[in-house]
C-alpha cells in the first residue's frame, strides 16, 4: 500500500443534533482529515467535543449531514469489515463464550467453524487470554473483557481499527497494560488506528500523530516522532513537556 496516499480522507464533515428542547448542537463543523496507512492517530479532546461523533461517522454508524468520507478510495455509506470498532461501552456479547466472541466476525466470511475457532484461539493467545477461552464474559474483569474486544477486532483483520476511549473505564495499571497490548498488536500488524482518548499522556504514549478535537473542529494536528515502544521518560523531555502543555491548554487546562 502506498504510504503517502491517505487510507482515509474526510472532507468538510458536518453534523448537528437536535436536543430534546428543540435547540441544535453542532457536534462536528467542517472537519477535514487525512489519515495515512500505518498511522496510530490519537484523537484527543474533552468530553462532549465531538470525538465519538467523528468516530461513528468513520465507522459508518452515523451519517454526516454534509461533507464526504472516503476509505481506501471508496465512499463510506455504512459499516464495513474494512473498519473494526472497539466502543467506549463494553460490547462483548454476554451470551457467547469468550472464544465465540472472538470468532464472531469470521462467521460472515467463507471460513469453516474449525478455522474460525483456531483463529480465535490464536488471537486470544496474543492478548494473553488463552486460559479463559471457554469462560463466559461475566466471569471476566473489565480489563479482560477489553482484551476480548481487542482480540475479536484483530481476529477479523480489518485494515483500519477505530477505538473510542476503549480503556477509559479501567484502572490505571490495567490501562497501561492494555495500551501495551494494543501498541504491540498494531506494530505487529501495521494496521491504521484511530484512537479516541481524553487522556493527554495516553495520546502521547501511543500516537504517531495526535489531533485535538475542540468544539467539533480540529484545533491541533501534530506528528509525535518518537520511537516505539515509549516509556514515561521518552515523553518527559523539555520538548515533550512543551507539547503536553500545548495539548492541556487546548483541552482547557492551564
Amino acid at each position: 500500500m502506498d504510504r503517502d496516499k491517505p487510507i482515509l480522507a474526510a472532507r468538510d464533515l458536518g453534523v448537528s443534533f437536535l436536543r430534546a428542547d428543540g435547540s441544535a448542537v453542532v457536534a462536528l463543523r467542517d472537519v477535514c482529515l487525512e489519515v495515512f496507512p500505518g498511522e496510530f492517530l490519537c484523537i484527543l479532546g474533552r468530553s462532549g467535543h465531538g470525538k465519538t461523533t467523528l468516530l461513528n461517522i468513520v465507522a459508518g454508524l452515523l451519517r454526516a449531514q454534509h461533507g464526504e468520507l472516503r476509505v481506501m478510495d471508496r465512499l463510506v455509506t455504512g459499516p464495513g469489515t474494512d473498519r473494526g470498532v472497539i466502543f467506549q461501552q463494553d460490547a462483548v456479547f454476554p451470551w457467547m463464550r469468550v472464544e465465540e466472541n472472538v470468532a464472531f466476525g469470521l462467521r460472515f466470511r467463507n471460513i469453516t467453524k474449525r478455522e474460525r475457532l483456531e483463529i480465535a484461539r490464536e488471537h486470544l493467545a496474543l492478548v494473553g487470554l488463552s486460559s479463559v477461552a471457554r469462560a463466559w464474559p461475566r466471569e471476566l474483569s473489565g480489563g479482560m473483557r477489553a482484551r476480548v474486544a481487542i482480540a475479536a477486532v484483530f481476529a477479523n483483520d480489518p485494515p483500519i481499527l477505530l477505538a473510542d476511549e476503549p480503556f477509559g473505564a479501567l484502572d490505571y495499571v490495567t490501562r497501561r497494560q492494555l495500551q501495551a497490548v494494543l501498541r504491540d498488536l498494531w506494530r505487529r500488524t501495521g494496521k491504521t488506528v484511530l484512537f479516541v482518548t481524553h487522556d493527554v499522556d495516553e495520546a502521547m504514549m501511543l500516537g504517531t500523530r495526535v489531533i485535538v478535537v475542540k468544539n467539533g473542529g480540529i484545533a491541533e494536528d501534530r506528528i509525535i516522532d518518537l520511537p516505539m515502544p515509549r516509556s514515561d521518560d521518552d515523553i518527559a523531555t523539555p520538548e515533550g513537556l512543551a507539547l503536553k502543555h500545548l495539548f492541556l491548554h487546548h483541552i482547557g487546562l492551564e
Binding site: 465507522a59 459508518g60 454508524l61 455504512g78 459499516p79 464495513g80 469489515t81 473498519r83 473494526g84 470498532v85 466502543f87 461501552q89 463494553d90 460490547a91 456479547f93 454476554p94 451470551w95 457467547m96 463464550r97 464472531f104 466476525g105 462467521r107 460472515f108 463466559w136 464474559p137 461475566r138 475479536a152 477479523n156
Partner: protein, 289 residues
C-alpha cells in the same frame, strides 16, 4: 526524606494464609442458601395445607373436605374413575384427562409462542411491522380471549383443535408483547458491534436479538404458561371431547367436593411442575446470565 515508609503494623498476616479454603466455603454457603430456600418453600406449602385443614374442619363436608380426603379421592380416581364414565367421557381417570389438557397447552404454547416471539422481536426493529402489529395486539390483549372462546367453539366444533387454537392465539398475543419489550430493552451496543463485523439483518436476529432476549422471553413464557392452564380448562368446560375441564364440569354437576378439590390439586401440581421444568430448561440455555 520526603517519601518515608511507615512502619508495618504487627499482627497482619500475609493475605494468602487467611484466604486458603475460600473456594470450599463458597460452595458450602451456596448449598446452605439452597437448603434454606427449599425450607422456606416447604414452610409456605405446609402453611397453605394447614390453613386448608383448619378451614375444612370448621365447614360441613358438602362445602369443603380435608386435604387428606381430597388426596384419597385423587388416588382412587387417577387412572380410572367410574363416576366420569356416566358423562360419556369413556373409561378415563383424572390422570388420562389431564394428559389431554397438558398436550393441548403444550402444543398451543409452542405454536403460538414461536409465532409471537418472532413477530415481537421483528416488530421491535421494523417500524412498519410494529405500526401494524401493535394496535392489533393491544386490542386483542385488552379484549379478553375468554370472549373469543365460545366463538372458536362454534367455528371449529368440539375438537382438540379449538382449545389448542385458543391457547396458541393467547400465547402469541402475550409473547408479541413480552418479546417486543425484551428486544426494545436490549442495549443497542450489541447490534452496533455486530454491524461493524458485517452482520446482516438475519444474522443479527439470530446471533444477537434472539439469544440476548432469551432470559426476558423465558420470564414472559412462564407468565403466559401459568395463565394458559386456566384458559385451556375454561375452554374445556365450555365444550371439549376430553380434558380435566370436562371432569370438573361433570363433578360440579354431581356436587362432588372431594373430586373437585382433587382436580384443583392435580392442575396446580401440573402448573407448578411445568414451571419448574421451564426454569430448569432456562438455566441450561442461559448459563451466561
Amino acid at each position: 526524606m520526603r517519601f518515608r515508609q511507615m512502619p508495618r503494623l504487627s499482627g497482619s498476616a500475609p493475605l494468602g494464609l487467611r484466604t486458603a479454603g475460600v473456594d470450599h466455603r463458597a460452595n458450602q454457603a451456596k448449598f446452605r442458601q439452597d437448603l434454606l430456600n427449599g425450607l422456606y418453600t416447604g414452610a409456605g406449602i405446609a402453611l397453605f395445607f394447614a390453613f386448608w385443614w383448619l378451614t375444612a374442619s370448621q365447614l360441613p363436608r358438602s362445602r369443603l373436605v380435608t386435604p387428606l380426603e381430597a388426596g384419597q379421592d385423587l388416588w382412587a380416581n387417577f387412572v380410572y374413575s367410574p363416576r366420569l364414565g356416566v358423562f360419556g367421557l369413556g373409561s378415563v381417570g383424572y390422570g388420562t384427562l389431564l394428559l389431554y389438557t397438558v398436550s393441548n397447552v403444550v402444543t398451543g404454547m409452542i405454536a403460538g409462542g414461536a409465532v409471537g416471539i418472532l413477530i415481537g422481536i421483528a416488530s421491535a426493529r421494523l417500524t412498519l411491522l410494529r405500526l401494524v402489529v401493535n394496535p392489533i395486539v393491544l386490542v386483542l390483549g385488552t379484549v379478553p380471549v375468554l370472549v373469543a372462546a365460545p366463538l372458536f367453539l362454534l367455528w371449529f366444533g368440539v375438537v382438540p383443535f379449538t382449545q389448542v387454537l385458543l391457547v396458541a392465539f393467547y400465547s402469541a398475543v402475550m409473547m408479541v408483547l413480552f418479546s417486543q419489550r425484551a428486544a426494545e430493552n436490549m442495549n443497542p451496543i450489541y447490534e452496533r458491534w455486530a454491524l461493524t463485523f458485517g452482520a446482516g439483518l438475519t444474522d443479527r436476529v439470530r446471533h444477537i436479538l434472539i439469544p440476548g432476549t432469551v432470559p426476558e422471553i423465558i420470564g414472559g413464557l412462564r407468565i403466559t404458561l401459568a395463565s394458559a392452564w386456566g384458559l385451556e380448562i375454561f375452554a374445556e368446560i365450555l365444550g371439549a371431547p376430553s380434558g380435566i375441564g370436562q371432569a370438573i364440569k361433570a363433578l360440579t354437576n354431581i356436587s362432588n367436593v372431594p373430586g373437585l378439590l382433587a382436580c384443583v390439586i392435580i392442575v396446580a401440581a401440573t402448573a407448578i411442575l411445568t414451571d419448574i421444568l421451564l426454569v430448569v430448561l432456562a438455566r441450561r440455555i442461559t448459563g451466561w446470565v
